[in-house]
């Protein structure tokens, strides 16, 4: 069996029936990681011994137990802001370099209980703050499609790992597009679930009211497979939802007849590269030819989304990151007294982009500015949510390009944070509104991947996956850049 040409679902099936051992699968992927990740730097730590031990354990299970594991033997990369018990979790920051958590994230626990094998931790922008993975304290990740370009961010490491086939599945986190934009830049599928669908317990918080863990995979079906396993209520996260989890794979292959797709003018106008727009429009034409309807819609408050996002997310981040003070764990700088302990630890431990957002957020919450910034941003958030509610009265899903551009050059935006923030223009609204959204490959511009995004009503993940599957049917599958011929 050609392990590398198969999907996560096929790997799990082979392991379940005993056609191949989990240990063999894990060895094949570990070998690939050793050969390819030196250049890509998608991964921050690899657990060869632990992964092999976990695989052998799966192989030693009685067959009737193994057959119940939906992810039996599937190697998994976990973004390094999600806690794992055997591998360290740095959040891409010097302040947590070498930090081992005493517990594991719920999403990881559930994936492991379903038979997944954690092989490595994925690189990211420090604490998830960035759209290029260049803000990792441990160096940038390269895009497998064009090694001099960024993989997107902040889940750039996991996305690049999937595109380079260092693992069939990855867990990322998405606060303003951090799963979807790198999925688009790396030509893969990435899904941000409805807020509350997946437990945040064990996710190192960036902005608690926006963060969600979600799957990255090469196919819609594989993304659904991982989503199925990690979704659902968790008693350890008070914001997780008791809404029943749908069967995401049951109707995946049934096309949605007469799907009404909302096309908001705000996401197809200025600020979107014309080549990107035409790739997305061409997919829509093909969907229409297959029976879908497109409806022009209006999401009038979209223009305020970036401003609202860059107040709310930094405000929450400034609070969430206060616990990194050098007192109990992580990096501690030399200091002569308490105040200098705080100052030196945080000044030396945090990178520039984190400092920028912590300052921005602290300011937005300060006495005298709170109403003008934080409260106003929350009002905008409510209006954006209302825009979508009104749209979903008319259409089933909303379509946008996932990113306004193709992957940009490494280092090209380092000193232009405002330009960098604009990369999130298409993705932040789903987080602000708490809605699920999926990015699927839509095609290429000069060999660089372009992603198409569907945003749906709350808990419409099954619908989004079916819509994504329809896109897969009308878009030619790429030849992956690093797969052997």
């Amino acid at each position: 069996m050609d392990t590398l040409a198969t999907s996560a679902g096929e790997i799990a099936q082979s392991v379940r029936v005993g056609d191949v051992s989990a240990e063999h699968i894990v060895n094949v992927y570990l070998d690939r990681i050793r050969r390819l990740d030196g250049e890509l730097h998608a991964l921050l730590s690899v657990d060869e011994a632990g992964a092999r031990a976990a695989a052998r354990m799966l192989d030693s299970l009685p067959a009737e137990q193994r057959t119940r594991l939906p992810l039996a033997g599937v190697p998994l990369v976990v973004k390094d802001n999600i806690l794992t018990d055997r591998l360290p979790t740095s959040a891409g920051s010097k302040i947590l370099a070498g930090f081992y958590s005493p517990f594991q994230a719920t999403a990881v626990e559930r994936a492991v209980a379903a038979g997944a094998v954690v092989v490595a931790k994925g690189n990211l922008d420090e604490f998830g703050m960035g759209s290029s993975t260049e803000h990792s304290a441990f160096g940038p990740t390269r895009n497998p499609w064009a090694r001099d370009r960024v993989p997107g961010g902040s889940s750039g490491g996991p996305a690049a790992a999937i595109a380079a086939n260092l693992a069939p599945l990855a867990l990322g986190s998405d606060t303003g597009g951090s799963i979807r934009q790198p999925a688009a830049f790396c030509g893969i599928v990435g899904l941000k679930p409805t807020y509350g669908r997946v437990s945040r317990f064990g996710l190192i918080a960036y902005a608690s009211s926006l963060d969600q863990i979600g799957p990255l995979a090469r196919t819609v079906r594989d993304a659904g497979l991982l989503l199925q396993v990690i979704s659902g209520l968790d008693a350890r996260d008070a914001t997780s939802s008791a809404e029943p989890v749908a069967d995401y794979l049951a109707e995946l292959e049934y096309p949605l007849r007469g799907l009404r797709i909302g096309v908001p003018s705000q996401y197809f106008g200025a600020g979107i590269e014309p080549e990107v727009r035409s790739v997305v429009m061409s997919v829509l034409d093909r969907l229409k030819a297959g029976g879908a309807q497109t409806v022009e819609i209006n999401l009038p408050h979209t223009e305020y989304a970036i401003a609202a996002y860059y107040l709310i997310a930094p405000a929450e981040a400034s609070s969430n990151l206060s616990r990194f003070d050098g007192v109990r764990y992580g990096f501690r700088a030399g200091a002569s007294d308490l105040v200098s302990l705080y100052q030196n630890t945080r000044a030396e431990g945090f990178g520039g982009e984190v400092v920028r957002r912590v300052l921005l957020g602290t300011h937005a919450l300060s006495a005298g500015y709170y109403d003008q910034y934080y409260v106003k941003a929350q009002k905008v958030r409510a209006l954006i949510r209302r825009d979508f509610m009104e749209a979903f009265a008319e259409v089933d899903v909303v379509v946008t390009p996932t990113a306004p551009e193709v992957p940009f050059g490494l280092g090209s935006r380092r000193d232009d944070p405002l330009k960098m923030y604009q990369s999130d223009i298409c993705t932040v609204t789903a987080n602000l509104a708490g809605l699920p959204a999926v990015s699927v490959p839509a095609g290429f511009v000069e060999g660089l991947p372009v992603g198409l995004q569907f945003i749906g009503p709350a808990y419409s993940e099954a619908l989004l996956l079916r819509a994504g599957r329809m896109v897969e049917e009308v878009v030619e599958r790429p030849r992956w850049p690093l797969d052997e011929p």
Binding site: I82, A91, F99, F103, L203, A205, S208, S319, D337
Partner: protein, 485 residues
């Protein structure tokens, strides 16, 4: 001492630890006195990725306390983050309630001397406690180091904020005592000020007579963290004297925070309000809004015990003296003893007299409470019956009570063992009376010539001959009959 052109204005903020089994947002034990940092977990240590989950029992206790103070309960309230850096605050924010506390507008009736007065409660909110620092020297600044103990971090608290309705140290003491009494009835806290389960901050300011502006505009001095009711009184007395002195000398009072030194009985400056913290409150995104249904609030209210004011009314109706009522209501064990005792003996005055004189004296001497009394309510009632039916004289009863106290035996058992029953039989006593009259002709002469005192002597002689067992009433009657015929 106080300048008559100023009125004293006092408001109190009281923190009360709730005695839930586990902490407010995690499963750790809420217990005093365990080894340092043994009652901790990732949530209350503020580890990355950990999330708070609200303890419903803490909410029930908080709501019960608020209802006992006649507060209005907000059906939708919210938690907020109060942010500051300090080593005893692991997340660098305290989960508290800022502008939407769960309870508002209650009241406490206080009695200072013979005057009754209502102190309004402005608000009660829930929050988590911080940990404790054990300095290796005098304080954090001057110590070589400080040891952090986070056992207390995350323990549920309510903060009860009064309106500035008190005008003396006495009233503040009366308010605190009443607060404590009501809370002890509701049974939601250990209320041990020395262990920190109840803590008090006092705000003291001087209002010019006739001042019509907002009290907020007066220079207010806040005395932080006073550790006993007695010391709250002493701190306020000192502060009134200090502020009066300053005003008399034509000096201004500075708005500031002061501490209280127990040994010197003085307050001292800690920091002026100008350098006060900006806590950057904002809604806690990790917790959904706290929703309480009217039905649930009603069920908590229905579960409240009879409260002190209702008891006062009931006891007054029973004809108990006001002074005794106050003694009874401030000691729930005493009140419980009384109610149990009344189940067996309906003469309220008789029971309270015995409880508050002889019983109390014996208990105090043995350093016991009514709950720990070796003579239970049923035993006391039995003793009172024996006195009531004439088996024992009052004096014999007192002696017997001491014996019961020492041996733990019942009155009837002791009477049998000691042969102590009162002699009421006319025939037996007539013999003794006849012989006493015969032996004391001179005294009989005196009585007959009008010296009433002589009768007492003769009674005493009969008592002596019967070793105190004769019924004084019967002896009196027989003597009169025989001497007057």
């Amino acid at each position: 001492m106080a300048d008559p052109s100023y009125e004293v204005v006092v408001g109190l903020e009281v923190h009360v630890e709730l005695k839930t089994k586990s902490k407010m947002f995690c499963g750790c034990a809420n217990a005093f006195g365990a080894g340092p940092n043994t009652n901790t977990c990732p949530v209350c240590l503020g580890m990355p990725g950990a999330l708070p989950v609200l303890n419903r029992e803490a909410v029930r206790m908080a709501v019960a306390a608020a209802l006992a103070f006649n507060c209005t309960i907000r059906q939708r309230s919210r938690f907020d983050r109060k942010q500051y850096f300090y080593p005893d605050l692991p997340k660098a924010y305290q989960i508290s309630q800022y502008d939407a506390p769960f309870a508002e507008w209650g009241s406490v009736a206080i009695r200072s001397g013979s005057t009754r007065r209502t102190v309004r409660i402005r608000r009660i909110h829930m929050e988590e406690d911080a940990g404790k620092l054990n300095h290796l020297g005098q304080n954090l600044q001057s110590s070589a180091g400080s040891l952090v103990d986070l056992n207390r971090a995350g323990v549920p608290l309510i903060e009860i904020v009064s309106e500035p309705d008190m005008s003396s140290a006495d009233e503040a003491r009366a308010y605190l005592n009443e607060l404590r009494t009501v809370l002890s009835y509701v049974d939601v806290s250990d209320l041990r000020m020395e262990e920190g389960s109840m803590r008090c901050d006092a705000n003291v300011s001087m209002k010019p007579v006739g001042f019509v502006g907002s009290l907020e505009d007066l220079p207010r001095v806040e005395i932080k963290n006073v550790n006993s009711v007695r010391n709250v009184g002493r701190a306020i007395e000192y502060e009134i004297a200090r502020q009066s002195r300053l005003l008399a000398a034509g000096e201004a009072i500075t708005k500031e925070t002061r501490g209280f030194n127990d040994a010197s009985a003085r307050t001292y400056s800690q920091r002026s309000k100008e350098e006060a913290n900006d806590y950057r409150y904002f809604p806690e995104p990790d917790l959904p809004p706290l929703m309480l249904t009217g039905e649930w609030i009603a069920s908590v209210k229905a579960g409240l015990p009879t409260l002190p004011d209702a008891w006062r009314e009931r006891l007054t109706g029973m004809g108990i003296a006001d002074q005794d009522i106050e003694t009874l209501v401030h000691d729930p064990a005493q009140l419980a003893f009384l109610t149990r005792c009344l189940e067996y003996e309906s003469d309220v005055r008789l029971v309270t007299t015995w409880m508050l004189s002889d019983m109390l004296r014996l208990l105090n001497a043995a350093d016991l409470t009514f709950a720990e009394s070796p003579v239970g309510p049923e035993q006391l009632a039995e003793l009172l019956h024996l006195i009531g039916d004439g088996t024992l004289s009052g004096r014999m009863g007192k002696e017997l009570l001491e014996n019961m106290f020492a041996t733990g035996k019942s009155a009837k058992t002791l009477i049998e063992q000691l042969g102590m029953a009162q002699i009421t039989d006319d025939r037996v006593l007539r013999e003794q009376v006849t012989s006493v009259i015969a032996d004391h002709a001179k005294v009989v002469e005196d009585y007959r010539s009008g010296k009433a005192k002589a009768l007492g002597f003769l009674v005493g002689q009969v008592m002596k001959r019967t070793r105190g067992q004769a019924s004084p009433e019967v002896v009196n009657r027989l003597l009169r009959e025989m001497l007057d015929e």
